[in-house]
Amino acid sequence: MAHDSYYHAPDLAKFPDVGKDAPELWNKFLGWYGAVFAEGALSEREKALIALAVAHSVQCPYCIDAYTTACLEKGSNLEQMTEAVHVAAAIRGGASLVHGVQMRNAAGKVKM
């Protein structure tokens, strides 16, 4: 069903529908995804914080909803989650700013 906006919160529950016409690929994704977020060298809590930061960087509202809850359910607090979002924002901001070098190189080439 179409909606007035591209993003619709209840659609997150329909995520598995994506697997309907390519079940093998979907199952591979699920297996890999589960392994990625399992406790390893990093704890599940740390991985959820990274996911929250990346969710903000790729600006996925579904991911932001899901990993806000996941972070809380892994024992993180709002201070830690806010700092994670700042890390994402700082990298995005820094990524723009570092291209200033390219600008300066280009300007240096043509400018007297």
Binding site: E39, S43, E44, R45, T69, L72, E73, K74, G75, N77, L78, E79
Partner: protein, 339 residues
């Protein structure tokens, strides 16, 4: 904040709460879910614990309280009912008495009851809110002298989240209480366990990983030690139910609990090994059923004066949709995760 009862809130009626929980919705009844999972109806086994709720009087008014306890509540267990509990213990082999409330220490007969239970050679646990140690200056020494195991509420290792749930200033007073307990040998020779429950409509973190965080942070920031951390899921009862309804989280939370149903958490749910005694002597399968006025059923004794260990140890458990709270994820009980 005042209790639901003092505010004459509709949810101060247990019938209203049950109506809300058991109303028509997508989430199946708990008994049906057990059947669907191929599990038998819940039944008790041997009784390991007599949990005595000695009253609703409390010095705090926590936002998530399933008891609707607070300073404005007056219901407390009388000496006569305590005597009935002792009589029941004398004719039983239940090894542990778990005392809860409210703030159980505010019951005028609390200390007398503890010493009487100790005389029977039973282990005593006190579910302590920590700030009461600041109200009753000699309480910590009394508990230590009687080797009472303390199960203390501390929803988080930092102040902001703790105070949001339990009231302004509670965290600092709790830390002061924990330091006093440590100085008396709690966290070392004497058992001190902490209880975490989420400050909102979400499930608790893994008990193991959260215990690691609590131990590291409480030691690093305050030099505090403790034995174990118990993670307990918030029950959609009384003031937490009010919070869920007021914030539009009720349906989603019930669905979250039901979707996280874990059959592996069922065998160790606390109702199977305990009997819960209300301040007025009525018997319940657990403290949560007690707060919904869901008395023991299916022919089991319903009052402590009719205590019959053999009958209670094979009773069928009364269930409702709130039971999903004990079977979600890693499970939840008075002793923390169960799966």
């Amino acid at each position: 904040m005042q209790s639901l009862l003092r505010r004459a809130h509709p949810l101060s009626s247990t019938a209203e709460q049950v109506k809300l929980l058991e109303g028509d919705r997508a989430v199946p009844a708990f008994a049906a879910k057990l059947k669907e999972a191929g599990l038998p109806a819940l039944a008790a086994g041997a009784l390991d614990v007599m949990q005595v709720n000695v009253g609703k009087l409390c010095n705090q008014t926590c936002r998530h309280c399933h008891v609707d306890a607070g300073p404005d509540r007056t219901e407390v267990m009388t000496r006569e009912t305590f005597e009935l509990c002792l009589a029941a213990l004398r004719k039983s082999s239940i090894p542990t008495v778990d005392i809860t409330g409210g703030a159980p220490e505010l019951n005028p007969d609390f200390r007398w009851f503890v010493t009487e239970v100790k005389k029977l050679g039973r282990h005593v646990m006190d579910r302590c809110n920590l700030t009461i140690l600041d109200v009753q200056k000699d309480l910590a020494e009394f508990l230590a002298a009687n080797e009472v195991e303390i199960i203390a509420s501390l929803p988080y290792w930092s102040g902001k989240d703790t105070d949001a749930q339990r009231g302004a200033g509670v965290f600092d007073r709790s830390i002061a209480g924990l330091k006093r307990l440590n100085a008396l040998g709690y966290g070392g020779r004497l058992k001190l366990n902490l209880v975490y429950n989420p400050a909102g409509a979400y499930l608790p973190a893994s008990q193991k990983s959260l215990e690691r965080d609590f131990k590291r942070e409480l030691q690093r920031r305050h030099g505090i030690t403790f034995h174990s951390l118990y993670t307990i899921t918030n029950m959609p009862i009384s003031r937490f139910l009010e919070f869920l309804a007021d914030t539009g989280n009720f349906e989603a939370y019930i669905e979250k609990l039901a979707n996280a149903f874990n059959p592996a958490a069922v065998p160790a749910v606390m109702c199977r090994s305990m009997i819960s005694v209300g301040w007025d002597g009525r018997l319940f399968d657990c403290d949560f059923n007690q707060m919904l006025d869901l008395e023991t059923g299916f022919g089991a004794p319903r009052h402590i004066r009719d205590f019959d260990e053999a009958a209670l140890a094979k009773r069928r458990i009364v269930t409702g949709r709130h039971c999903y709270g004990c079977t979600a994820g890693a499970g939840s009980s008075c002793g923390g995760a169960t799966a």
